[in-house]
């Protein structure tokens, strides 16, 4: 397999056929609303819908599992921080002084003695976790379902300079290559008797830190080769260029863009008019 590959979904769906511009509109709308909503129920529902959409368009379960696994420590951290320590922030959001205690550590305990976990703090943490999850999952939804070339054309169409669109696409292609390099180096270390599988998470992190130098050197060599290849293909980064593929917004695209706009407007009216989505109105 080529080093320069980006994970893409294999399933052809309504979403894969959409123009990248309409996907950008949808991604922006979902991200915007997720940022504004503070209700863990609505935020959770939005995250769930995005996750189901990911599954529906063919994002692999293993990818979602990895995202959730990586997010788990963050979620626990948020629960602890907001559950115990976020009382002031939560009181300010709720405009009230009294919070509902879930449990309190005995006062005799050192450092954490007397600490109280509140129900509202936990809900606020949940809201942050759901926001983050939505914003993370909206990326594969838009990017894994789009060919890199179509992304570049879509970005140029919305007047992003070609050079920037190309750098964006090159970066997307570079991440899998870096990941592949890391795996290669770890495999090489295992082949020298290094028992990577027996290491704990912290020691693994230290190993990852150590391989930064060969990783960067390898990436530099590859990027230089790529640079030479691009130059021999007359690449200058100029926006004065033609495109093999044309991109045209179709009825479905207009519907998605309009729907995205409508979603933002309705969410804003509901939020500011009736407080739907505000923290405390779950």
């Amino acid at each position: 397999m080529s080093a320069l590959t980006l994970p893409t979904v294999e399933r052809d769906s309504f979403f894969t056929r959409l123009d990248f511009r309409s996907k950008l509109a949808l991604m922006a709308a979902i991200t915007g609303v997720a940022l504004v909503w503070e209700s863990p129920v609505l935020g959770g529902a939005l995250a769930l819908v995005v996750m189901l959409a990911c599954l529906a368009v063919g994002v692999k379960c293993s990818y979602l599992r990895t995202v959730l696994t990586l997010l788990l420590p963050f979620a626990v951290f948020m629960m602890v921080m907001q559950g115990f320590g976020g009382a002031d922030l939560v009181r300010a959001r709720l405009h009230r002084e009294t919070l509902t205690p879930l449990f309190t550590f005995p006062a005799s305990w050192a450092i954490i003695g007397g600490g109280m976990m509140t129900w509202e703090g936990v809900l606020y943490a949940l809201n942050v976790v759901c926001k983050t999850l939505t914003m993370i999952l909206v990326l594969p939804l838009g990017i894994f379902t789009t060919d890199v070339n179509a992304m570049v054309i879509g970005m140029v169409k919305i007047r992003i300079p070609y050079r920037i669109a190309f750098i964006f696409s090159a970066t997307l292609r570079f991440f899998p290559m870096l990941f592949e390099e890391i795996q290669t180096i770890i495999e090489a270390q295992r082949l020298r008797g290094f028992a990577f599988e027996a290491l704990g998470p912290l020691k693994r992190l230290r190993v990852y830190a150590k391989i930064a130098v060969p990783l960067i050197l390898g990436a530099l060599v590859k990027s230089q080769t790529l640079d030479i290849v691009l130059q021999t293909r007359a690449f200058t980064g100029s926006s004065q260029r033609t495109y093999l593929h044309e991109t045209r917004l179709r009825a479905a695209d207009y519907a998605v863009i309009a729907g995205s706009g409508l979603f933002v407007i309705v969410a804003a009216i509901a939020y500011y008019g009736w407080g739907i989505g505000c923290f405390g109105k779950w």
Binding site: L6, R173, L191, L226, I228, T232, A234
Partner: protein, 586 residues
């Protein structure tokens, strides 16, 4: 000077001119090119040969203006391509005239579909979409990749990827196609495909071709002229017949001549008059038959190699099947025993299952079904790190196995992880560095060393663990003749020291001096497991996995046909020995 093919008396119009060109890379003192003066005619196919570091790549890069425009450095002299001064015109302008194809098929393909790959340069050059739609199928047809326009480049084989890179270069309708070692990473089938494509483009479309490489047999077959570079200087330019027949000079320059030329030089040295040294196989076969008609020929006495081994095998594979996650069946019901002290060569086309097989020995892969045993223990019950202490693995690209800041740290890495005491570590490191001749480089950064030395660093690091088995996975790929021989010589020393050696390579001509036993694989199955003399002459089995035996073997087979006798010969020396009075003793 190249001549017009239709009228050899007429010199070709030069498309490329180099007048006293010298070039020094930044932060170096030694010129990469030194005082090169050369004209390349329109429609010519010029082969560029020379050992590693001779300046072939630099010359190729200078033709597209990358040198010096991208690298900087000091450039002297004057170079033009299609009338354009390569210093005065930007690379993007020169790209209209020069198409470039590089060594590694993976790194030069950037798009997500074949048609986008071809279109990329056209888009950059503002070629109208309608024109692109005409050119893309045309160039795909020229490189015989019709029907692949919508495919992702990763779905193509190595040879197809290189042909796609050629198509992408060709779409610009360049005057000159520059190929820098385009076949060095390919299996024989891929290399054959690339040469056939380039040959056709040159002969039928008249595209001027400059191809740098080590593939002596193929360049002798296809090039109009060959230029020999050594230490940046142009040592000789001439027809393949002139250049490749001078075997002595090639060997002096550490360049491997075509085996057919080497054979006839040996025959001449044996006292048989040879009017002209042939450099192509068909001429060689004709000359051999002619010589056999007028001179006595006898089968040299060859002591047969026995590969029969007894006892418990060190590595045992039992009905091994491996299916990858995407459903590809890479191995199917393979059974094989390798005993201690054997030197085994594994061959087969790309995708035959060679690397998949050896990765099972290290538990980098687990069997889908069947069993792999190391010294009688199932690899399922062992860890990769435990196996690595007994089995050393040298990957094709040494850079993938280097991750320390000094040569010494690289060699000591495994020993430190295995908690050896300081004295033991120092002893083993010193021992390994000395064995590989790396004592003086112990403080150097491994990646700052030449590629051949980097491979030796990896081998030194592996030897520090004192493994019983050393696996070399395509160690000769991307190496020149001298580099390849140096690595194989190390394998031979290890073998002599009692290690079991397994080598995977496509370079069959290198191996008669080393291997005893050959395992031939094809489409995931074991096709043949035999002594090297039997395996190299099993041409039908080899053909079924797209492998052609070395020219010396084919000459021996021609001799056998001529004399209706068995000539199980492997090397030019053995074929030549048929013409000596006493024959050859193995």
């Amino acid at each position: 000077m190249a001549t017009d093919r239709s009228n050899p008396q007429l010199p070709l119009m030069p498309l490329v001119t180099l007048d006293n060109v010298s070039y020094i890379y930044p932060r170096t003192e030694r010129p990469a090119l030194y005082d090169v003066t050369l004209d390349i005619g329109k429609g010519e196919f010029l082969g560029l040969i020379g050992p590693t570091g001779a300046g072939k790549t630099t010359l190729c890069l200078s033709l597209s203006g990358i040198v010096p425009q991208f690298y900087g450095g000091r450039f002297f002299g004057h170079m033009t391509v299609a009338g354009l001064d390569t210093l005065e015109h930007p690379v993007s302008r020169l790209a209209r005239h020069v198409g470039a194809v590089f060594e590694d098929p993976e790194t030069q393909l950037t798009a997500t579909s074949v048609e986008n790959e071809i279109a990329f340069a056209l888009e950059n050059l503002n070629v109208p979409r309608e024109e692109m739609l005409i050119r893309i199928p045309r160039v795909l047809e020229a490189v015989r990749l019709e029907g692949t326009a919508k495919k992702h480049p990763r779905e193509l084989s190595g040879g197809q990827k290189q042909r796609l890179a050629i198509a992408a270069a060709l779409a610009v309708q360049p005057d000159l196609l520059v190929l820098d070692e385009p076949t060095s990473q390919l299996d024989p089938l891929g290399a054959q495909e690339v040469f056939a494509t380039v040959h056709e483009l040159n002969k039928t479309l008249g595209v001027t071709v400059v191809m740098a490489g080590h593939a002596a047999e193929e360049l002798a077959e296809h090039a109009d002229r060959v230029a020999l570079l050594v230490d940046g200087a142009l040592v000789a330019v001439g027809s393949p017949d002139e250049l490749y027949a001078d075997v002595e000079r090639l060997e002096r320059c550490h360049i491997r001549p075509p085996q057919v030329a080497q054979t006839f030089v040996e025959i001449r040295q044996a006292g048989v008059p040879v009017p002209m040294i042939p450099v192509r196989l068909r001429e060689g076969i004709a000359a051999l038959r002619a010589a056999a008609h007028v001179h006595p020929v006898q089968v040299p006495s060859i002591s047969p190699l026995t590969t029969e081994k007894r006892g418990v095998p060190l590595l045992a594979v039992r009905n091994l099947t491996h299916v990858y996650g995407d459903g590809t069946m890479a191995l199917h019901d393979v059974s094989l025993d390798i005993h201690a002290g054997e030197y085994v060569l594994i061959i087969g086309q790309n995708g035959a299952g060679k690397s998949t097989l050896v990765k099972h020995f290290l538990r980098l892969l687990l069997p889908t079904s069947g069993q792999v045993l190391v010294d009688g223990v199932d690899t399922r019950d062992l860890t990769t790190s435990a196996l690595a202490r007994r089995i050393g693995y040298v990957a094709q690209n040494p850079d993938h196995q280097i991750f320390n800041a000094t040569v010494e740290a690289e060699v000591a890495f495994a020993l430190k992880n295995l908690k050896y005491d300081a004295v033991e570590i120092a002893t083993r490191v010193a021992e390994s560095l000395t064995a590989l001749g790396l004592g003086e480089q112990r403080g150097a950064h491994p990646l700052a060393l030449p590629k051949g030395d980097r491979a030796r660093v990896v081998i030194a690091a592996i030897l520090a663990l004192r493994p019983d088995v050393v696996i070399f996975d395509e160690p000769t790929t991307g190496q020149d003749y001298r580099g390849a021989r140096a690595i194989l010589d190390i394998s031979q020393q290890l073998h002599a020291a009692g290690k079991t050696i397994i080598v995977i390579t496509h370079h069959l001509y290198l191996m008669p001096a080393y291997a005893e036993r050959v395992v031939v694989m094809g489409q995931g199955a074991l096709l043949l497991d035999a002594p090297i003399r039997t395996a190299y002459h099993a041409v039908d089995v080899l053909a079924s996995t797209s492998i052609t035996p070395p020219q010396a073997v084919l000459l021996a087979r021609a001799l056998a046909e001529e004399r209706q006798a068995d000539f199980p010969l492997l090397t030019p020396e053995e074929v030549a020995a048929c013409f000596t009075v006493n024959g050859f003793n193995d």
